[in-house]
């Protein structure tokens, strides 16, 4: 075991139903975000920036989108002989038929335990992907090492009024220890004096030996529960150090929160906090040509990816790579993902358009800030009647 080394597990088995249709064909972790990224890029970049080289991904299903995006892990410095990226699919227990569960019990935790043993690491960090942040995991490790509790978990201070009832918060003691992670609606949790709650970021650091023990015990009990629930149990059983994260943060749990997070990055302060900190965000490298802005284009307050061809008017929107925006279009307060084409004369407002969509000419697509219009991946829309505007 090498001194101070850390291995990481990114858990892609996360609730996805409220994000449909964006998550119909992908786990939450590969949801595109911020003009060229996927949600998994944020934890993976934190991991890469902390010099962590052993990473395991637990995927719910086969997930072509996961392996297509990650490939060998090279884009996150994870394919050197000093470590590697290990992708283990089929970890969604809800998909296992009841009669097969018994057979699975003794295999379910095996991959994880084997990965941890081979990693030869002293500590392990477990992260999800639906809390976007750019965290310094080296600082988290130092914080953990300076304290006594076996587990350290992470929170962001949020105004109690801003929190949605179905998200989870840490129950923090006066001396800064987390004793549980509970829904914000839980009556045991009250805001601090300054009216803030400790929103859980679903990040856990502990010694690898302890994590292996937790997995082995669950295995012996025959519990087929998810890694995320196992971590919640660990916090309750062992108490945890509560580490405060203070940088950019957004939680993605439904369409509106995804839309709001996308729009929030258009604020220059947030944009710089997330993308221009000392810790860079890495993603799959793409070789695109420059984006061409035609004479007729008018783009204001927006993010754009490369490879695009822009003739129309764009205001306060996130435009991904390889997007084609025809003349006389007007796009406002929207997210247009990679490879999508918008026909001439079409107006789009408060909308999220997934990848490789084709929108015909002279249409009107209109959502509201509270209920953004969503067009699913690969859709072709040529008639106004195909769209239900708000």
């Amino acid at each position: 075991m090498k001194h101070n080394t850390v291995s990481a597990i990114i858990n892609l088995v996360e609730p996805w139903e409220s994000l449909e249709p964006l998550t119909t064909e992908r786990p939450v972790g590969t949801l595109p975000f911020g003009g060229r990224y996927r949600l998994i890029d944020f934890p993976l970049s934190s991991i890469a920036n902390a010099g962590i080289r052993n990473v395991m991904i637990t995927s719910p299903r086969s997930g072509r989108s996961v392996s297509d995006h990650l490939r060998s892990g090279n884009d996150w410095n994870l394919d050197t002989i000093r470590g590697g990226l290990f992708n283990f699919p089929y970890n969604d227990l809800s998909l296992v038929s009841p009669e097969k569960r018994d057979n699975l019990i003794h295999h379910y935790y095996d991959n994880t335990i084997l990965f941890l043993k081979r990693s030869n690491s002293e500590y392990s960090v477990i992260m999800g992907t639906r809390n976007i942040c750019n965290i310094d995991l080296s600082a988290l490790l130092r914080y953990h090492q300076e304290r006594d509790n076996p587990v350290t978990t992470v929170y962001k201070s949020i105004e109690a009024d801003d929190i949605e009832p179905d998200t989870t918060v840490l129950q923090v003691t006066d001396n800064g220890m987390a004793t549980a992670i509970v829904p914000a609606s839980n009556t045991n949790v009250s805001p601090t004096d300054n009216g803030k709650l400790a929103k859980s970021l679903n990040i856990y650091l502990m010694s690898t030996v302890d994590l292996i023990d937790i997995l082995k015990e669950a295995n012996m009990r025959g519990d087929l529960i998810s890694l995320e629930r196992l971590m919640l149990q660990a916090v309750i059983q062992h108490n945890a150090n509560a580490f405060e994260y203070t940088g950019f943060y957004a939680n993605i749990h439904d369409i509106k929160s995804y839309y709001d997070a996308s729009m929030s990055v258009l604020s220059e302060d947030n944009f710089r906090a997330l993308f221009y900190s000392q810790r860079r965000i890495y993603t799959k490298v793409k070789n695109e040509i420059p984006t061409f802005f035609a004479k007729s284009s008018q783009v204001k307050g927006s993010l754009c990816g490369t490879g695009g061809y822009i003739e129309g008017k764009i205001d306060h929107s996130v435009i991904f790579r390889n997007v084609f925006i025809n003349r006389n279009t007007e796009i406002a307060d929207s997210v247009i993902m990679q490879g999508t084409r918008i026909g001439a004369g079409t107006t789009i407002e408060n909308a999220v358009i997934d990848k490789n969509v084709v929108i015909g000419p002279n249409l009107k697509l209109k959502g509201t800030p509270d209920n953004p219009l969503v067009i699913g991946k690969g859709k072709r829309i040529f008639r106004q009647t195909e769209v239900t505007n708000d």
Binding site: R280, I281, V285, P290, F293, K300, L303
Partner: protein
């Protein structure tokens, strides 16, 4: 090389490119940025990869740090084959002394050990400083069909242009019968592109003989081609018809960038069947603020635009402050332009800083140049 390969490519990327002035003070010409996302050598490297050539030697000598970091292990172009890939060849010393390269052919001679290891049948010699797309396989097929000892790539030029090129005069079979360097009265319109396919054993023989007898074949144009013609080696011209630009001067570099801006440029950079690749970098998307105004321009990753951009190219990490105006210009990576500045008919070097209210103004005939890292018009506080 792989067992099925018969042709090795050598890219001559060692020249200083002194006609590019300040731009090549601290970097080699092939490493100069082009078209917002590329460096000049990307075109030649991508042509090699797209032509199915797996093994490429890049001969560098002058200020190679940036070029070498750009090339890396060649993986950006798929040139990281286990049995081949890119090898950077730089001066070295041996028991025979220090081996700097005195000319194009001399550079080949000094690297004979590397070429022998690859053991190619044909040697493709390329320049690292031209903008074009070309399938070298077709030229090799032509070379074989003609049973040539040497084939020279040529491009048609006007009589006026011909006076600045090495011109190939051919017979009706395209065999080269005469070579004239920068002729006053051109007899043909076939200008050498600096692209050669040699039968390697023959060239090897000429080079080793000449350098051991002091009749030094230092340069392909000045020495090798005349000797081939004198010795009646079968030497043919292969005509190329597509877009091709030598970007060896400030004006031609600017001109080619402006042509690159046109959606109708015959270079057709967006063609998925002949991709031009470059070193992969992950940078945040471009950010265009509420005061930006961009027309007829190309912009790439990680640019920050608050000003007006008209018929210009911004490379990676370029920042243009509000109230500034960039017209008919090419801005290289990392350059920062302050507020209310004017940049017009200019090439701005990497990491240059143009202060608030500064004016950099050239004309079509006299393009303004700001050097790498140069700081201009920044008021001291």
């Amino acid at each position: 090389m792989n067992e099925n390969d018969e042709m090795l490519a050598i890219i001559l990327a060692g020249g200083q490119g002194s006609r590019l002035g300040k731009l090549t003070k601290s970097t080699a010409k092939p490493a100069i940025p082009f078209g917002g996302r590329y460096r000049i050598i990307d075109f030649t490297l991508s042509n090699c990869a797209n032509s199915g050539i797996d093994t490429v030697g890049v001969i560098t000598q002058y200020q190679p740090l940036e070029l070498n970091a750009h090339i890396g292990n060649g993986s950006s172009w798929g040139l990281d084959d286990q049995n081949g890939g890119v090898t950077v060849l730089q001066p070295f010393s041996s028991t025979e002394g220090e081996k700097f390269f005195e000319g194009t052919a001399h550079a080949i001679y000094q690297n004979i050990e590397y070429i022998d290891q690859q053991n190619p049948e044909y040697l493709l010699v390329l320049s690292g400083d031209h903008i074009y797309k070309m399938d070298y396989r077709k030229m090799l097929e032509y070379h074989k069909a003609k049973k040539a000892s040497l084939t020279v790539g040529v491009i048609p030029v006007t009589t006026e242009e011909a006076k600045r090129f090495g011109m190939m005069n051919t017979d009706e079979t395209d065999r080269i019968i005469e070579f004239e360097e920068k002729p006053e009265h051109p007899k043909s319109n076939k200008a050498s592109m600096g692209i050669y396919i040699f039968n390697w054993p023959t060239l090897r023989n000429y080079l080793t003989t000449s350098f051991s007898t002091n009749k030094k074949l230092e340069d392909f144009g000045k020495n090798v081609i005349p000797m081939y013609l004198a010795n009646n080696e079968s030497t043919y011209a292969y005509s190329f018809e597509g877009y091709w630009r030598d970007v060896g001067t400030i004006h031609s570099l600017w001109q080619a960038n402006m042509e690159f801006l046109s959606p109708h440029n015959s270079l057709n950079i967006g063609d998925h069947n002949w991709r031009i690749n470059s070193k992969a970098q992950v940078l945040p998307p471009m950010f265009l603020t509420n005061t930006s105004n961009v027309n007829n321009s190309m912009i790439v990753d990680s640019c920050y635009v608050s000003g007006e951009i008209d018929h210009s190219i911004l490379s990676q990490r370029v920042s243009v402050g509000s109230g500034s105006k960039v017209v008919d210009s090419m801005i290289m990576p990392g350059a920062t332009i302050g507020k209310n500045a004017v940049v017009d008919h200019a090439l701005i070097g990497e990491e240059a800083v143009i202060g608030d209210d500064a004016v950099v103004k050239g004309t079509t005939d006299d393009i303004a140049v700001v050097g790498y890292g140069e700081v201009l018009g920044v008021k001291k506080s």
